[in-house]
């Protein structure tokens, strides 16, 4: 679908001029209007119009991914086929309509220590839950800009997930799936990249589509956190906004084209409004438009709350959750209000017959 310019039915002089201006393939000519093309190549306007007609007339444009339009029904069917990624907190999953949706960007913001990284690690394990348990059975790409991806914690969460699923295994299919759902395989399905500044992050995002094409089983991309490298660009806020817009666009494109869920983490910052200080998500108002769904994690007294505060398809609700040694879980209804996480919690989670993979 990329033809060399020399194969177009044009006169020799025109082809020479195109060649010397640097146009080798028809794909290069697609974005040009006739007046710009004539300026760049030195052709006259009529010749430029002729060139563009020749390009667009034959060869169908050179871009294979102009898809036919879809009806809303087809879109609905497509969405229903995609499973969501459970968070192992059934209340939050219920509010989200099953879990973190695939094909959309979800942002998690909160103050330090509230559990954003814990949620990300939990999702990185949950995306690998076998399909017979209601999971997506995919791999995950984890981009770590902060250095908080610690193997000890990932191993804990993975081991707890394996225990949880093995307790739920009822029939042969599920038992067979448990053979391949072990801590080792979970770790081997997490691809980790560490980025130390925003340049490396941009480079990684640029190379990501190729990586995703090579690994079609990846169904989750986690970036923890997007805010950390970009907040150092405090001098040129407009540049930062432009870069972030570009990042947002790239993430949306990847989410749709490669059928992945994108989860990003954001920090909080203080904003003075009407003489009072409020804590709001960082990176500015413009960034707020990029993610489809925004979750806010916050403290209330000694309780941890998760609020969906931006979503086109969910009601704004708040649920309580807790962070246990097993990972991200529902808050126990019978729990006394104290802030310390229980130390050895294995019997508590074993006794829970909750089927979170609904």
């Amino acid at each position: 679908m990329q033809r060399p310019v020399s194969s177009l039915p044009l006169s020799q002089a025109v082809r020479l001029k195109l060649g010397s201006a640097g146009f080798q393939l028809t794909a290069d000519l697609l974005d040009f209007k006739p007046d710009k093309l004539s300026k760049e190549t030195g052709l006259s306007e009529e010749e430029a119009v002729e060139v563009l007609k020749a390009v667009k007339g034959g060869g169908g444009g050179g871009r294979g991914d102009i898809s036919a339009s879809l009806t809303a029904l087809e879109l609905l069917q497509k969405e229903e086929e995609l499973r969501s990624i459970v968070t192992f907190s059934s209340q939050l999953d219920e509010c989200l309509g099953g879990g973190i949706p695939v094909g959309k960007i979800t942002e998690v913001c909160g103050v330090p220590g509230i559990g954003k990284t814990q949620l990300c690690l939990q999702l990185a394990v949950d995306v690998q839950v076998p399909q017979c348990f209601g999971g997506v059975e995919g791999q995950v790409m984890f981009i770590d800009t902060v250095g908080s991806f610690l193997l000890q914690r990932v191993t804990d969460i993975a081991a707890a997930a394996v225990r949880h699923c093995s307790l739920l295994a009822e029939d042969d299919e599920q038992r067979a799936a448990m053979e391949t759902f072990t801590v080792e395989t979970i770790l081997s399905n997490i691809f980790l990249v560490r980025c130390h500044d925003y340049v490396e992050l941009l480079a990684e995002l640029h190379l990501l589509p190729d990586f995703l094409s090579q690994h079609p089983k990846i169904h989750l991309l986690v970036i923890d956190s997007v805010a950390f490298p970009f907040r150092l660009l405090f001098d040129e806020l407009s540049q930062r906004t432009r870069l972030l817009n570009g990042v947002g666009q790239q993430l949306i494109t990847m989410a749709i084209n490669h059928n992945i869920a994108v989860v990003i983490t954001n920090q909080m910052t203080t904003r003075i409004r009407d003489g009072q200080s409020h804590i709001v998500p960082a990176l500015g108002e413009c960034w707020g438009h990029a993610p489809t769904i925004r979750l806010l994690l916050q403290w209330e007294g000694s309780r941890r709350l998760a609020t969906i505060f931006k979503s086109p398809c969910h009601v704004e609700t708040t649920v309580q959750y807790q962070i246990t040694p097993e990972g991200f879980r529902d808050a126990d209804q019978s729990e006394m209000a104290h802030s310390k996480r229980p130390r050895m919690d294995t019997d508590q989670s074993a006794a829970e017959p909750k089927d979170t993979s609904s």
């Binding site: 640097g22 146009f23 393939l25 794909a27 290069d28 974005d31 209007k33 710009k36 760049e40 103050v111 330090p112 220590g113 814990q118 790409m141 984890f142 902060v146 250095g147 908080s148 991806f149 610690l150 193997l151 000890q152 990932v154 080792e184 770790l187 081997s188 997490i190 691809f191 980790l192 990249v193 130390h196 490396e200 941009l202 480079a203 990684e204 640029h206 190379l207 190729d210 907040r231 405090f234 040129e236 432009r242 870069l243 817009n245 570009g246 666009q249 790239q250 920090q267 909080m268 910052t269 203080t270 804590i279 960082a282 403290w299 007294g301 000694s302 802030s339 310390k340 996480r341 130390r343």
Partner: protein
Amino acid sequence: MFMGFSLAFNTIIPDMFHQKLTHLHLPVDHQLPDAQTSTGLSPYQQQVFADCVERYHPAPPDDVSRSAGYFRCSGAFDVNKHTVRRTEVSGMNCDQLLLHPRVSAALRRDLQRLTGLSNSDVQQLITAAAAVCRRHPPITAQQLQHGVSGAQLRLGCPVLDCLLRGGLPVGGITELAGESGTGKTQVGLQLSLSVQYPAEHGGLGAGALYVCTEDSFPIKRLHQLIGEQVCLRSDVPADLVSSLRFSDHVYIEHTADLDSLLVCLTRRARLLLTRGLVRLIVVDSVAALFRTEFQADDWLERNRQLLTFSSMLHHLSQEFSTPVLCINQVTDVFSQSHNSMGPSLSTVSPALGLAWANQVMVRLMMSRLQGTVVRGDQSSALRRLEVVFAPHLARDGQNAAVWREGLRGVESWTSNRK
């Protein structure tokens, strides 16, 4: 004044591109601070480049400015104001510019014009540049497990190390906050000694850089701790302990203001780390400089400086796999509703606010409890070391006491003061 765009590429870029690009030259500010060479052009230099291309192509085409919005006609760019010098800029510097997704569209046109490369060639160039920028390709977590990672720096007391699940993580900022007199400096000193043990005994086999910003370094206490190391580290063979020359490997810096602190980190810390002489940085304390040097209205400037400082620490920590301990002061919390940063159980919270808290990976707090512990001829006020947040630790605490040999956890006491 001639200006242009010069690149020296490594072998990943094919030769034909190299040829086409070498006739362009980039002007750079003649003062290139050390910290910038590893990360690329400074924002100022990027602006210089943008203005140069603007001047080279004075009227950006409409669709370019609409899609990229990158080049602004911000007035005439006076070349003579800036000293320029033709330098060989490494491939990394310009890749930084080529990677901006918006800018790449605009630059593609200009590069095409300047170099005669076609659109797809430029795409290939950008991809190659991104590949150069990337330090490591993605690895799986399983490979991480088998690789060299996850080393930890033990504190020296098995009870406290159990609380920390091994010790301080390598590669990230650990903060220790508390009121005065709770023993934070003790922890800093103890870590400066424990880092010198070899890896099998929980150390990192190198020395420590101790940066004092407020009081002078407690050298007598350090000597006392050195003398009692055999008593504290009963898990290490005594001849190994006595063979280590502890005081030779603790590098002490006194910095009285912010500028000298930043200089110390950029020059001396980097030098010591590169030579492998230190693998621990202790800053005692972080709050002192930032609280005293700024007025209440200057919080914007203070945050800026704080971000610069912490990002420097973070980069050093990641690059050299070095734990960084920052000792912080506390501030009073008056109204519980405003302290939405924590579960609001205590009356004090670490100083420097949300901006600093966002940079910290592990936050620990030391507090003094009522009561004393007696052991032999020594007695110590009871303290509590708590984990406020950490990616791999539960929110938990452990009582401890300060003895002649250092800080030790007190096991049998389960004080139910939650």
